[in-house]
Symmetry: C2
Subunit: 369 residues, 2 copies
């Protein structure tokens, strides 16, 4: 099988990310060697199809992928650069500047052009090789992170690798990468955790009033504390910068609420601070790219009532298929004590009227979202 | 038709909430009279089936529902108490203590036992009678809010009304209600808006790294600034109290990040603060009741790969129906550039193994979430 990935590839560290990379690269036709500090994990990785144990007669690896936490990645990268003087070496830790800084302190300067950072983005809350999947990175961004002396060939190799495993390569320097993940991943995690932590206070009857909004805003709060201590610690500066903006705005909002709670006729500025908060939130959230990289506004969302019995949702989706409309997105919403679910169905806005009419004709209760 | 709702019911204010209440009560067999400050809105409400215009020969209303913003609700309630001395009068504004306080300042003491607060929870980001739906409150909490001198019969009537429109009555006093909605609705809105507002900063390539987590945590940030200024302003004290806890925790987290970004070997306490944040978030989010009022942990979630073509999701759900397993929840996840969707399927944990095996036998790619 022809592949853009040089062989053999040595994967060092076969957890969720290393394991999934090995599986994906094996599937893409590369010869993958696996190595882990735990012999048991290494054996399990081989059994699961991540790759093979390195054999004495194997050629040296052409590419080494270090899949280890940020605090040990630099040491493993340095070891690999020294062990295999022809190999390209990449780490795939989720934070990049601390690894690069650590490596600069350890590595021989002549080895640095053979190092490149990478961050295949997965966003799973599970861990371990047992959760590894060859398709983990499919359709996801794969950030390629060269530094000043990285050779041009290294960028080409990593972009090729990203393409082979079905992900979308994006090239950023380490600082830009770390800022970006602070903004779109680490700060959202902190905000969800902060909000989740407030839910230790409410009474049970108060929590009985919770709707979908609370569930959505706190879903990612149910994630692994150990993992997040590592990530937040390794990207502390960038995360703190964004949280500083949050805190400044929070202070304004709290000041406005203080004024509003103390006076029946407060200054206009207080209401303005609240309106600006919500309006800026509107503008910010609308900047998130939609499914195909464009705005989400080309889709229309219908809400269809679905009785809570086996087969009803299948019947609905079967009929949507008969009508000939493709679903862009689907979310099923259930609430306490309700005998029906609400299927939120996103479709091409141009097909909305057709679908609404056809479903109503077939007896479904349809509403615009 | 027998109904638990006394007739006629006068609905004052026919926006989304008043309109939907009128439709639901009409459907439940009550005689509904509609009234709005805007004659055009009143006419539209009649045309949409919210109720009828009051006629000269109509008996006085037995129940009045004031569906107006918090700042005008008290005045309208007082007017109704004076106009119809036998009627029970309720307001349905989303914040209760400010309405009650306003009314105490306006109303004759002997009228107060005929007043009761209510909050049918809807959680739509749309507004206006055109968006009204008879099923808006179905399966949703309906908070009944008596005050000290509210008559017992008033509570019974409102609970009956809630039941008739398919919602779930919950009795709370005004302060408990306002604290509860601050915790489960208003503060989540502020946090989503704060997070959304940070998205004005990132570059487009940074936003290209966004995953489902960012989308979920910011979804409700895309809501109406005018509406939220009213709500937050009317519940300023309770919202500020919870935000005060958030700020205290945020300061701890920022302090920990400051220490971690400045030193390669920081005090153990810094990592501990981050771990506590995430762990407390875990515990808080697990307190949110699941679909049937229990813990969400009785459900297992599978992830199934679904090719992005019409009919595939229907085929999957059809086969799940054949296997005889009921879906508790379903979410379809799409990402940029990916040719498959991921169907996140929640089922009774006791059926998980069966479903995984049967789906795999039928050729589906299944993973645990």
């Amino acid at each position: 099988m022809r592949t853009l990935v040089p062989s053999p590839v040595r994967v060092i560290g076969t957890g969720l990310i290393g394991g999934s990379l090995g599986m994906a690269l094996t599937r893409a036709g590369a010869a993958v060697q696996v190595e882990d500090v735990s012999p048991g994990t290494t054996a399990l990785a081989v059994e699961l199809g991540v790759g093979a144990l390195p054999a004495a007669e194997d050629p040296d690896p052409a590419l080494v992928l270090v899949a280890a936490p940020p605090d040990v990645a630099a040491g493993l990268v340095d070891r690999a650069l020294r062990a295999w003087p022809e190999a390209l070496v990449a780490d795939v830790a989720s934070v990049k500047a601390t690894v690069l800084d650590g490596l600069r302190a350890l590595a021989r300067p002549e080895d640095l052009p053979r190092y490149i950072g990478a961050h295949p983005m997965a966003g799973r809350e599970v861990s371990g090789v047992i959760a590894a999947r060859a398709d983990l990175f499919r359709g996801r961004p794969f950030v390629v992170v060269p530094h000043e002396s990285t050779g041009a060939e290294a960028v080409t190799v990593l972009k090729g690798l990203a393409t082979e495993i079905g992900s979308v390569p994006i090239v950023l320097d380490a600082a830009s990468h770390d800022t970006a993940v602070a903004q779109v991943s680490h700060v959202p995690q902190v905000m969800a955790s902060l909000l989740g932590a407030t839910l230790l206070e409410p009474t049970e009857s108060a929590l009985g009033l919770a709707g979908q909004g609370l569930r959505d805003t706190t879903r990612i709060a149910d994630s692994d504390p150990r993992l997040w201590v590592e990530i937040l610690g390794a990207n502390a500066g960038a995360v703190r910068t964004v949280l500083g903006e949050v805190r400044e705005r929070l202070d304004q909002v709290m000041g406005a609420l203080e004024t509003l709670s103390g006076s029946p006729d407060p200054a206009i500025g207080s209401r303005r601070a609240l309106a600006d908060l919500v309006a800026d939130g509107n503008r910010g959230v609308r900047r998130i790219p939609g499914k195909h990289g464009g705005s989400t506004e080309v889709f229309a969302t219908l809400v269809v009532l679905v009785p809570d019995r086996p087969g009803e949702l299948a019947r609905l989706l079967g009929e949507i298929g008969e009508i000939g409309v493709n679903l862009e997105d689907l979310r099923l919403e259930h609430e306490i004590g309700r005998a029906v679910g609400l299927a939120h169905i996103a479709v091409d806005a141009a097909r909305e009227d057709l679908l609404t009419r056809e479903l109503a004709d077939r007896g479904w209760t349809v509403a615009e979202a």
